[in-house]
Structure formats: C-alpha cells, structure tokens
C-alpha cells in the first residue's frame, strides 16, 4: 500500500511538472501548441518535396507513412533529450527539497505525451483528408502506451547518465541524428540489407512498424512482433527504474 501511494504521488508530481513546462513552452496560449506541430510539419513538407530526388522505391500511402514515422520518432527524440537534462536542469530543486526524483524524467515523458497527442490529432486530420479512415486506428493508443512505458524506462537511464556526465546531451544529439536517418521514417527497408540488419536491433523500428500497420495499412501485426515489443518495453522500464533507484542517491554529489 505505501508503494502504491508513493507511485501515485510520483505520477501526480510528474503530471504537475509536465503541465507547468507545457504551459511555459506554449507561452500561456493555446496557439502555442502550434510550436509542437511546426517541426514535424516542416520536415514532412521537405521530405515530400524532395521525395523524387531521393530515389526511394514507391510506398503505398507514402504521406501518411512519413508523417506517422516522423511524429513517433519526434516523441522519442524529444523525450530523450529532455530526460537527459531533467536532473541537471533542476539541480537547485534536487538540492533543496526531498522530492520524488523519479518525477523529473517522468514529467518529461508526460510532457511529450501531451505534444504527441496534438501531433496525432494533426495526423488524423491529414489522413481524413487524403486517405480513407481505418477503424483499426482505435488501437493506436494501446501501441502508444507500450511505447510510453518503453520511453519512461529509457528516460530513467538517460536522466541518470545526464546527471553523472555533463556533456551527455551533446553525445545524444549526434546519436539522435544518426538514429533519425537510420530508422525507416521516409524510406522502407529491404530485407537482407545492412540497414535492415542494423534495424533489427532498433526498438523504434518495431514500434513504428506496428503503428503503421495498425493506423495506415488496416492490419494487425503478428504475435511475435507484439510479444517482442511488450517484453522489450517492460524490460526497459524495469531496468531503467532499477538503474535510477540505485543512482539517484548519488546525484546530489555530482550537481
């Protein structure tokens, strides 16, 4: 029972911190939500415009394929970047009151869940306009919950590394660029190629594939991809929580 109470209070604090940051980024206006949508929209327009020059083999419902890939990767990259900075950016808070430190990386993931919600609304408007609406889209929230659980686990690990290593965010920025290009956002993978083999170790690849199958291609992924994704997400969550719990008592000495 005390563990449940503690989890609830961490979640509550995570939501409040996320809400505060969301308001600050939106500059107190609903129009501020536009800033969350701007980045994926600009990238989407650029990719569509240069598509002919990239030599990409044709993909069915290409626009929807690209936009969904973009918003899912956007969630991942933004949440990781925020999580890495979550302890260092709140160093004065960490030193000045005994609060649930788990709430700091958690609040970053929640904040980008809010923004993903608006990006997904944009996506729905888009597919309503260009593409027939598929009933299987109702399963997307389930996929996203699994994605968010995976992300929370990674955020705990990222926050710990970011607290101990001052320039970890610089390393992440370079890595995230590589990940962005290596993940099939605007192209499809050909089995047997080097990139395909690399992506077999890329959790984002599985999550985006499942998302696309359900939302765009009206089909359900097989049992194995779903089981793999579930195991991976919960294992990452458990590992992240364990690492964070062990390292958090040392944070204050490095800030």
């Amino acid at each position: 029972m005390p563990k449940t109470r503690s989890l609830l209070s961490t979640l509550r604090l995570g939501f409040t911190l996320a809400e505060a940051r969301f308001r600050i980024r939106n500059a107190g206006s609903y129009l501020g939500i536009f800033w969350y949508l701007l980045e994926p929209l600009v990238f989407f327009i650029i990719i569509i415009l240069i598509q002919g020059n990239l030599g990409i083999k044709p993909i069915e419902n290409y626009q929807a394929y690209v936009l969904l890939g973009l918003i899912m990767v956007n969630f991942f990259v933004n949440a990781m970047t925020g999580a890495i900075r979550s302890i260092r950016d709140n160093r004065y808070l960490v030193k000045s009151i005994n609060l649930d430190l788990e709430a700091l990386p958690l609040s970053v993931v929640i904040q980008f869940c809010f923004s993903h919600f608006f990006e997904f609304l944009l996506f729905i408007i888009f597919i309503l306009y260009y593409h027939s609406f598929s009933w299987t889209i109702i399963f997307y929230p389930l996929i996203f919950i699994v994605f968010a659980i995976f992300m929370i686990g990674l955020a705990f690990i990222a926050a710990s590394l970011g607290a101990f290593i001052e320039d970890f965010d610089n390393i992440w920025i370079v890595f995230s660029r590589v990940l962005w290009l290596a993940t099939p956002i605007f192209y499809a993978l050909t089995p047997g190629t080097f990139l395909y083999k690399i992506n077999l170790f890329n959790p984002l690849y599985y999550l985006i594939n499942i998302g696309r199958q359900i939302v765009i291609y009206d089909s359900f992924p097989g049992f194995t991809p779903i089981l793999t994704t579930l195991v991976l997400s919960f294992a990452t969550f458990g590992l992240g929580r364990g690492i964070f719990a062990r390292s958090k008592k040392k944070f204050i000495e490095f800030l």
Binding site: S9, R12, L13, T16, L17, A20, R23, I24, A27, G28, Y92, L93, V94, K95, S96, I97, N98, L99, F164, I165, E166, D167, F168, I171, K249, K250, I252, E253, F254
Partner: protein, 248 residues
C-alpha cells in the same frame, strides 16, 4: 513543549566528497590525467539526537558541513559511515525560491510548489485563498510572477512555503537558511508570528542559519560545526557567545 520521543538520531556519521579537477565531461572522465580526486572531509564522526518539540540550532562557517548534515538526515544524501535515522514525516527545505517559475502565474506556481512539497491538488486548492491573502497579492493571482516586484515575490515565496509546511504538519523539520521574516514591517510581523507557530508546533526541528539572533531566539540547544566536526554544543547563549568571540 518537548516530547520524549526521539525523532532524530545521528550516530558516528562521516561523509567525504571526492573533488575532481575539471568538468565531468565524458572525454575528461576517460582521458584526463588527473585520475586521483582530492578528498574533502565534509563530516567526521557526528553524533546528535533531537526530541519531538525540540529546536536544535546549527551554526558554523561556510563549508563547515551544516547543509551536508541536514541533507543526510533528510535522506537527500548518503553518509559514508554511521547512521542517521529520522523517525516520522520529514520535511527538508533549503532556501526559499526553489520551485517557483517566473513565467507561470501566482496560481500556477502555488500548484507547482504544492505538488513538489507532496500535496494533492484539492489540498492545494483549499490553501490558495490563505496563501494569496497572507502575501497580500489577491489582485495578482493570475498574473505571471516575473511581472511582480522582488518584494512581492519574496512575500509570495514565504507565504507558499509556510502555508504548505503547516499543512504538511511534519514530525521533523530540517530548515537550511529558510527562516527569515520577509518583506515590509507589516509583513515581517505577520511572518514572525507564523515562524513561531511553526517552531512551537511540536515537531523536532533542526535550524541551520548564519543569522545568530534567529538561532538564539528559537533554539533550545546549539551545535557549532567546524571543519565537519562538532566543536562545541550546549545552551544557545553560551555557544553563540563563544562562536562570536572567535569569529568577530
């Protein structure tokens, strides 16, 4: 109103910090020639007890280990050896303005700080009127904090934290440079009354401050820390006089 319940018990606590030259950048960690960090002895063999209702003052120069000791008791930091047990609901606070964000409104900041201090939304909602009236800032409730004067912000910070501290009703209060009557004369007298009510509410309190008059006024006992060790301890008047003789 001192109880006989031992709320804080510190036994043989020591703490060293490893001080490395340069930053903790990744390349520095791997390629820096400076592998041996300097060791700073922050605390050495500290023993103390505080009963419920008792106020213990801790004085000492900067770097004497006061904040480190409070953080260990508050569970923010681990000691290298010894034990620090705080039995009961514990609230550790250092400084005042941590948590408030100048870009948020007063109302939003009240919710933010309340959540950080562990209150539920409905508990926070129930405190808004008292906080805002105490600070005398009702007409600014939905105004962003950066638009207020520094005096108004001080009043707001004081009011938020003290109302939430009272509401939390902790058994143990660890206050590191938190207590000072803020704002203009009228507000100072209100805030002094609030401080006194809080300190006489029955919690075991450890007060850390450079304000010796404040320590003298509220503490039953005083510990003087010097280079991480207890140099003297005893009645407030006696220890503060000795401390003043050396440092003035």
């Amino acid at each position: 109103m001192t109880e006989t319940i031992k709320r804080i018990e510190v036994r043989s606590v020591s703490k060293n910090f490893k001080i490395r030259r340069g930053s903790r950048a990744l390349l520095n960690l791997f390629f820096s020639g400076d592998r041996k960090p300097n060791i700073l002895k922050a605390l050495h063999d500290i023993n103390l007890e505080v009963l419920g209702g008792e106020v213990l003052g801790i004085i000492g120069k900067n770097g004497s280990g006061k904040s480190t000791l409070l953080r260990i008791i508050g569970g923010l930091l681990q000691s290298d050896s010894g034990t620090a047990v705080a039995s009961g609901k514990t609230l550790y606070l250092n400084g005042f303005s941590q948590g408030t964000d100048p870009l948020l409104t007063l109302r939003q900041n009240i919710f933010l700080v309340g959540s950080i201090m562990g209150l539920r939304r409905n508990e926070i909602r129930g405190k808004i009127d008292a906080i805002i009236d105490f600070a005398g800032l009702r007409e600014f409730l939905d105004v962003e904090v950066f638009k207020l004067s520094s005096g108004m912000i001080t009043r707001l910070d004081f009011s938020i934290r003290f109302h939430f501290m009272q509401h939390t009703n902790p058994n143990i209060l660890l206050l590191d440079e938190v207590l000072s009557a803020a704002g203009d004369i009228e507000f100072q007298s209100k805030s002094t009354r609030m401080i006194e009510n809080l300190l006489r509410g029955g919690a075991a309190v450890i007060l850390v401050s450079h304000d010796l008059e404040l320590i003298r006024k509220y503490s039953n006992r005083v510990i003087w820390l010097d280079k991480g060790m207890i140099k003297e301890q005893g009645k407030a008047d006696e220890i503060i006089s000795k401390y003043k003789n050396i440092h003035t």
